[in-house]
Symmetry: C2
Subunit: 589 residues, 2 copies
């Protein structure tokens, strides 16, 4: 079986629990489960064989906690444990065609900002596991039971960068529908898709029935094959022992439902046994191959997603030291607080996404970018756009950012595309693509659309779909290049009508050098929206910008019934009047 | 010679003066010149023959003052005088191929509002002259030495409606470049073209050299053949006798210049003699046939023209009794003052053109429309748009209006096109064409563009070029028909890109029924401008409308260097601050 070809084509069976099976087979309390790979390989082989005999096409190595941190309590090294575990599994599956999944669970200590574990430290634990597991002959890597998207990303990157094995990645959700650290299923799907995992899904968590709504949410946000390994119900503790009360026949019934929905990899987690897997065989006929969803595009942080295909997305431009003395001073001091404050202000004014520009000659930009990302993590929910001329800063940011970000920017110069596109591809980011190249900014729409087409074509060659580009047709100031102002809109319309790319604009540039800039900006904003602008890089607090957006959303039909419009203006009217003059607010002029 | 085919193809020669020739031949002071048609036909025949022998291809009847008003001082009737004059001229030209032009000069008393002569009275004088002259066998009608555009229009309409003869129409300009009543050459050209005269131009006025700049201005505003009959210089009175000091050779030099410019009919006015005409023969070789100008479109009053092809034209919608109590009361009382006041207010706020709607069930709409037009004449310079559902009201307005107006409106119903298009064609008006028909307002852009195409096609069948239409793709309120709002813009863009028609919109309708209308209106205005809106029917005093227009004009490059924008906002800032805070005004935000 070529795993990558087979997944998604039929219902594939994983094995069930290892931990609860070991308990059943008499593992003592306090025993390190992974040490058994060296201390009782027979037992493990037996469990694996039972699963293979039950019909499992994938069996999972007993390496859930086999990382350098957790193995400190044993006398074994990671290499000893993982190599033994993979060998046991391979022996148990020899001649059966079943595949061996190298199991990777959480490190066992919380990551920043909740805990102390740094991204790079987590990565190093996972890298060690992956390297050893791959060398020992695992067929794929299963990263599972993750609650923290940051930790999951570190593990996925470690797997990607240190092996060529297929990556199956499943996270664990609580009864509120999110992971323990607050990541919702959709965001998990978006973030793991961005990293290009082969399978994503849910394990452990709850009983199979309770997972259905979560699975549905995931299926709606990805076209990647989805995997489910539920517990045999929510455990009830009886006489100090966890009891799982979903029978294998009930598990099968849910599995059939999941197969109909298009879930293509199924197995079991805590409380499941070979009996469950044997029964699951009957779910295979229920499998319905999924049609590709027409997916909307989203950027996201670990807590919040923002759709780029709906209403205009406001990208706040104010986290930028140029022209902001306070910000500059704190940047130099390496303090992210001023940036966080500016982030909050912009969100409060209406920003959906925040551009983070750390360009200052006297600072270590990578270090400071990292500090801002860590500082904002969990505090500022708005997704980020990373703004730098330095590829190494952009890569450091994308690497550590839990979510799907925008890179600002690539341009049509060969050197820029060669530096930026590989990063964008690797991290599944969006990228602002500026319509300029070695010859500068073309004067007219035709010249800019040619650069746009080049940017799209070359992105394709790097494996980046045009739908990941935010083409910026570049507006110059009307004060100096008045004739080019309408050319920008013409080019913008062309991009919108002839490509799948999104459009963006650093809008306030249009009024640079003119007096009464706000009126020029808000008018040009309405004009650009009409021409097909999807996102705008702007100061959301500038006079009339959010007003114009709210009105546009009514006029374009995106704010159905003008609900948001009326609410927004009523609130604004109350703020203005400093009192309850709301009866006037809702009256027409 | 088929006059209509020949004009414009070569330089054609008219005759020279009659009045000064009669003086030369001894006409006594106090003699009514037109009485000579009956009292000394020999003398007139002799002068005509001298001109024919000199080379004149057109000779002019001695009927300049042969109207019922002026002939009161004689014992002859208009019929006697004109019939005799035409017969003398026909006899003098018999066998020569020269054509006889029935001469019509001003009535001899001033028209309203300066004088007392009513439009209909003037028309009746001219109708009598035309009817008799045509019956007597004149080959064409020459209306000349007119100073008042209103009187000229009355004469042209009389000629059009009571004969099929070619109409040559020339006005007289003073040294300031305008007619005595303040009409500039361009406006004369626009207004006479609208009525479809065959030749238009200048006579009398000044010496030939002084007319060159005026002729150039006319040539730039029309593709109709242009005629010049200058005086032999500006007369100097010597011993009680007017002396003209431009020699025939000097006249010829100027005539050559005019022929090079494309003037295609030339003759002489006061002080010219057969000698001048004989010399003019030499100008014929200088004639350069004109290429058709690519003309911009203008509406105009007698005092002011407004280009429809440049910056957006604001059409003030407030002269409308619905929803305006003061206006309604004065409408009922037949008093135009309230309308004039609203006109001034709108012009002050930025209106370029004023819509005049007199729809009220209890008034005689035709009578009141006429009163408003007369009341505004000479006071309100902004060109007018006549707004009524009644064809007879629209026709009465167009008939009496000295200028080129817009009719509001025709729609795609057969009955509407059959009623409105003939009027529009006859008076050379522009017309607002609403995209609705018997089936109502189509839901989507496609349906509306189909009606637009029908409106254009049918206009063509009535002899109205698509460039005279202001297509209104109709915006419905976003409160009730939100999805249709963008369809309007789509249709608008289609009209702009696929036809020669102008576009217009009754814009404030979009926000009807919503709170915070101004923000919706100004945003939709910017959107519509971006989609190709040429004119808008709106309250120019509404918050943000003129602001948006000013900003758009900068962004679209029409306000070069943002000169108007900065000036407008500086003034506004001064008004707002009630004082000289101008140093802030010119600072960016
Ligand atoms: Zn579990
Ligand atoms: Zn498990
Ligand atoms: Zn004269």
């Amino acid at each position: 079986m070529d795993i990558r070809k087979q997944i998604g084509e039929e219902l594939l069976l994983f094995d069930g629990a290892m931990g609860t099976m070991l308990q059943t087979y008499g593992m003592k309390a306090g025993q390190n489960p992974e040490a058994l790979n060296l201390e009782d390989p027979e037992l493990l082989g037996r469990i694996h064989r039972e699963y293979v005999e039950a019909g499992a096409q994938f069996i999972t190595t007993n390496t859930f906690g086999a990382n350098a941190y957790k193995l400190q309590e044993t006398s074994y090294s990671v290499a000893e444990v993982i190599t033994a575990a993979v060998e046991i599994a391979k022996a148990a599956t020899a001649g059966t065609g079943a595949k061996v999944a190298l199991d990777i669970g959480p490190v066992g200590k919380m990551m920043k900002p909740i805990g102390l574990l740094d991204f790079d430290q987590a990565y190093d634990y996972f890298r060690e596991q992956v390297t050893i597991g791959a060398a020992a002959g695992a067929d794929l890597i299963l990263i599972e039971t993750m609650s923290d998207l940051a930790e999951m990303r570190a593990a996925v990157l470690a797997a990607k960068e240190n092996s060529n094995l297929p990556i199956f990645a499943t996270m664990t959700f609580t009864e509120d529908g999110n992971t323990l650290t607050g990541t919702e299923p959709e965001i998990m799907a978006l973030s793991l898709d961005a990293l290009g995992v082969d399978v994503l899904g849910v394990n452990c968590s709850l009983g199979p029935k309770e997972l259905i709504p979560i699975i549905k949410r995931i299926l709606a946000f990805t076209n990647t094959p989805v995997m489910v390994q539920a517990n045999a119900g929510i455990p009830v503790t009886e006489a100090g022992v966890a009891k799982y009360n979903v029978a294998s026949t009930d598990y099968l019934e849910v599995a059939k439902e999941l197969a109909v929905l298009g879930v293509s990899v199924i197995g079991g987690c805590c409380g499941t046994t070979p009996e469950y897997i044997r029964d699951l065989e009957q779910a295979k006929v229920s499998f319905v191959k999924r049609e590709a969803n027409k997916l909307k595009r989203y950027v996201c942080s670990a807590q919040k997603k923002v759709c780029l295909d709906g209403q205009i997305t406001l990208i706040g431009e104010r986290i930028n030291p140029s022209g902001n003395k306070a910000l500059k001073e704190q940047f130099v001091a390496g303090n992210p607080l001023a940036a966080i404050k500016v982030a909050f202000e912009q969100v409060q004014k209406g920003a959906d996404v925040l551009d983070v520009n750390t360009s200052l000659p006297m600072i270590d930009e990578t270090d400071y970018m990292t500090k801002i990302i860590d500082g904002m993590s969990g505090l500022v929910e708005a997704p980020l756009q990373f703004d730098s001329t330095k590829p190494e800063v952009l890569e450091a940011a994308l690497r550590r950012y839990s979510g799907v970000a925008i890179v600002n920017s690539v341009n049509g110069k060969e050197s820029s595309m060669a530096e930026i596109y590989p990063i964008v591809q690797k991290y599944g980011a969006f990228v602002v693509a500026l319509c300029l190249d070695e010859a500068g900014i073309p004067d007219d729409a035709d010249g800019r659309t040619k650069v746009a087409q080049k940017l799209i074509d070359r992105a394709g060659a790097y494996g980046i779909g045009s739908e990941r580009l935010l083409v910026d047709c570049l507006v110059l100031t009307a004060a100096a290049q008045q004739k080019a102002v309408m050319e920008t809109l013409k080019a913008l319309r062309w991009v919108k009508e002839n490509t799948k790319a999104l459009t963006t604009l650093g809008l306030s540039n249009v009024s640079y050098g003119l007096p009464f800039r706000a009126l020029i900006n808000r008018t040009y904003f309405a004009m650009a929206l009409t021409s097909g602008l999807d996102t705008v890089i702007i100061n959301p607090g500038a006079d009339g910008i959010v007003d114009t957006m709210r009105a546009f959303n009514v006029l374009s039909g995106q704010d159905e019934g003008a609900i948001d419009y009326i609410d927004y203006n009523n609130k604004k009217a109350v703020v203005k009047s400093d009192g309850p003059k709301q009866e006037n607010a809702a009256r027409s002029y």
